[in-house]
Symmetry: D2
Subunit: 315 residues, 4 copies
């Protein structure tokens, strides 16, 4: 990631702000505010603004439950209780805003999370930067044969080189032709003064899906955790997980108590169906189990055995 | 409105906070942060937290439009442009959180605005305060005869007195019986040590709809304006308008440029149907108009003439 | 529940409709369409309209996964897979609309589920019916001493009688005074021709929270399941559970395959934290466990032991 | 647009369904149900399912307003009233589901409307079809010089030919390389049995933004109108307007009364700011107006004069 001088100055300018406020602050998050944390080859994650901290969740819960909440004596105990029992509304009382730079094909995955506010750089108005994602060789994975949406082993040798060359060449050529059609370069200079340029809203269609875009993305803490639960998971595509992992770290700085509860109950937690529960109960009692009598499909059976590291039970 | 000593201390404690932040602040809003602004007889509006200011809207818009926004030279010009052309997403980048105390029948109207986050005091957990709304005599309006949901003239004399007495007596009696059923007073003291109390989730059903409740209510700037546009309007019920008017004032302190654009384009603005537009065009040209040829219903015709203060045209 | 003659005729009229459509239908749901299924003493649940069936979920999933879905050979297998892996969007492709009559204090709980569309009977425009909820004696529970929002044993003898009398008297008196203030009876007749009535939007504040209201409530299948998961649960208040149980039955008629998966994975399923999982793994291996080393609070420990029916482990 | 034989058969199969239902139907919409209406060069719009018709809006409004609605005597009068006064919830009671095939750069614009349900074809699971959008020569517009996001005159002659050639060549080359990297053709055949293919979730990044995707898109009537108001507008990009215009026609078939009100109040309607209203009032009275005293910017002034076809007043 290389920032333009202009962008670097803007960040420094933002970071030098020092305002007084009666609002709660999150000291660890303040330290990295506005900083461009690198993601993939040209992307970044920046925290731009936030509202509330761990105490805001407690404050909202105590309004809801009134004197009733006094039973749970500590903030940490209350937050854990809320997380465990899916009392979600207090977590909606905190808000965070990111500035993200990311490849378009990842942006398309991301945007499916609808309960967020988005302002994306518009290629109808402006010319997109000449930046596109190229995987490193260790991320050049083959199609998984067992899982339709998964990755298998890494491509090697000549084939890996060829793939990288194709990706690079195609992105560069389509971008060059984008400029030709616009009759304008990405720095705003005109190519041929005697020609008109194709409308930007049309020319952009020639770009490849690994071109970088950027947006402001704002969401509440509950929906951020929903996003991270899915996108920091090992089933998520590597390229979005890179962003989710960085954001998981900003979550920890922002609301450390909530982060711990989230890791314990959501990220590290497991869901078990009613049929799966019966199997576990038999295992605990030392009774015999069999896939035939379990009512589970082979896939479900194996997922359960893997979750509890009962490798000898996998069929 | 009379705050408990406990609540008064909490507010003073919050107001004495003085934190350093790199985030943008809104100086005028900081001044009234946490303050309990009185509404109706026992209610209040408090601003508890906020995120962003006018510049946050501009910042988001400039990310969207990139270099394209440089055409609009000032922040104020850009905000007006966004408002006029219903470019709504930049306004979603600011967030505000209120603590509101309000009668239940108003809370039921309010909650219909779904795009907000809410944590309400729970009468399943805790005992509601002994506070209920009683209108002042000048707000004791009769049912309008022309408008099904409107108010007519004010009730007078003996009838007004009777109504106020009924409201007061019924609220007091049902509240006293609420305590009897709970076998517990609102201060937590037990009434009869030899009895059990009815479950709170049941006893609450005996309260009247003018009983006060309270909640934390958080929304983004766009949805706040949608709320205020409807609820600060003269068609809105007086009792919710009291809250909306206070919030309109907090909007002005928070984002003064946006407030001006909102007043000009939304609150003071008018919508005209395609048929209505044809009438106005004829009026401007000095041509004759008639309701028969207009395609407008009598109601639409009169609404148009009233909007443009053409009182002699009302039929 | 007693329907007015007018409402009874409307229902019969709706049920006699017989239209031809190319849309998918749900035969079992068609049988009970428009029927008023009784709930509590005066309430009801009616299914008014619906869109889609089990095959609509499969159809949407197959568009998403394209040829990839051919691996999962049956509709039932695919729906289970989607449910297990929280692939939620295909379930959003079905929609259902209910007409519900319910007490106001339950409506206030219900409305917290925001992702639904609602049209409620307006007491600003019209006079509410003279109907209020009175619990049966077996539902007259005391406040739980162990759980702030729960119910304990049932009130008995004289105290139960007294409570019922209070509830009945207060509801009747406040309703009578509502009519007095309106100067109009619920059938529309005027009480005193020489008086004006108080505005409806004001008079309604005198009613108690057990007064019945009604609304049209429309939601998609995903959000219906989210609602039912919380409200058909044994932690939910009895009075809302009555509605949820009826709706669970309409879910079964509407989308029987989805219903089965929902009962297995959501309603009958269990969530386990990462710490809880370690305990279960030790139990399966026959290793010793102790609350001290578990990192679980007493409450969490007991919840886990109860979930797996390990009663001797409860501390 | 050319459908595969498989898809053609599926459509015919769906259209031959003939079910009995007690639900309301929309006869004109039934006629075109499932039909693939062509859009652009390879896209289509298909109505897949719907719920409700004009009477459903009336039904919901009458529940809301109770006996209060009897004042408005006809369904048409009530729907117009609701539209005029922004009573939006009754329009949320109808729902429609489309199957859409569209270029990715248009899909990215479309998805910003968040209040809809979407299931998109996943290029993580499956291989995208070899289809990409190429504008016809009359839609090959230059960048507008006056409006940052608008189009100017049409490109002509050699330059137009060159642009079309570039677009076509780049799309074909990147698609061919997509297949090479996948080591698989779009029909599923393997290219080189001795090689592994790059993971689909990676290979897709090489495609250009004019590649076609498809999705199921479901929304309620209110949000459909919000979408159409913006996207059938002449400010919208031509390529999305093509879809919006087709959908406007399906709206007319589905809910003809609502369609008329929508065209009159929303599409053909105009909004006027408080300052603009003062100008119109002066014009009606025959008083002199001047931009200097109006408080309007030049842009606002001209927009107002254009809206009322006062061309001689444009400055």
């Amino acid at each position: 990631m290389k920032l333009t001088k202009e962008h670097q100055e803007e960040i420094e300018n933002q970071q030098s702000q020092n305002n007084n406020t009666k609002r709660v602050i999150s000291p660890e998050l303040e330290k990295i505010l506005f900083e461009a944390i690198p993601a993939l080859d040209h992307g970044f994650v920046r925290v731009i603004d936030y509202m509330g901290d761990d105490t805001s969740i407690v404050q909202a819960a105590r309004v809801s439950y009134g004197k009733g909440t006094k039973q749970v004596s500590t903030d940490s105990g209350l937050i854990k209780y809320l997380m465990r029992h899916w009392h979600s509304t207090p977590f909606e009382m905190c808000e965070i805003k990111y500035h993200i730079k990311l490849p378009i094909f990842i942006a398309r995955q991301w945007i499916r999370h609808r309960t967020a506010n988005v302002n994306e750089y518009s290629a109808r108005y402006s010319i997109l930067d000449k930046e596109f994602y190229l995987p490193t060789s260790e991320n050049l994975a083959t199609q998984s044969t067992s899982n339709r949406q998964g990755r298998g082993s890494v491509l090697e040798g000549k084939q890996a080189e060829d793939v990288l060359k194709l990706l690079k060449n195609d992105a560069e050529r389509t971008y060059a032709n984008y400029e030709t059609m616009l009759n304008e370069r990405y720095d705003g200079s005109i190519i041929d003064e005697n020609k008109k340029g194709l409308a930007r809203e049309l020319a952009r269609m020639n770009l490849t899906l690994n071109t970088y875009t950027q947006w402001y993305w704002k969401t509440d803490l509950l929906n951020l955790m929903n996003f991270l639960r899915l996108r920091a998971d090992h089933h998520a595509q590597y390229e979005i997980r890179v962003y989710a992992d960085i954001m998981l770290d900003t979550l920890k700085k922002w609301v450390p108590i909530t982060f711990d509860a989230f890791m314990d109950y959501r990220v590290g937690g497991t869901e078990i169906s009613s049929k799966g529960k019966l199997i576990l109960q038999k295992l605990i009692k030392g009774e015999a189990i069999s896939i035939e009598k379990s009512g589970l499909s082979k896939r479900e059976w194996n997922e359960l055995m893997e979750a509890f590291e009962l490798k000898d039970k996998i069929v």
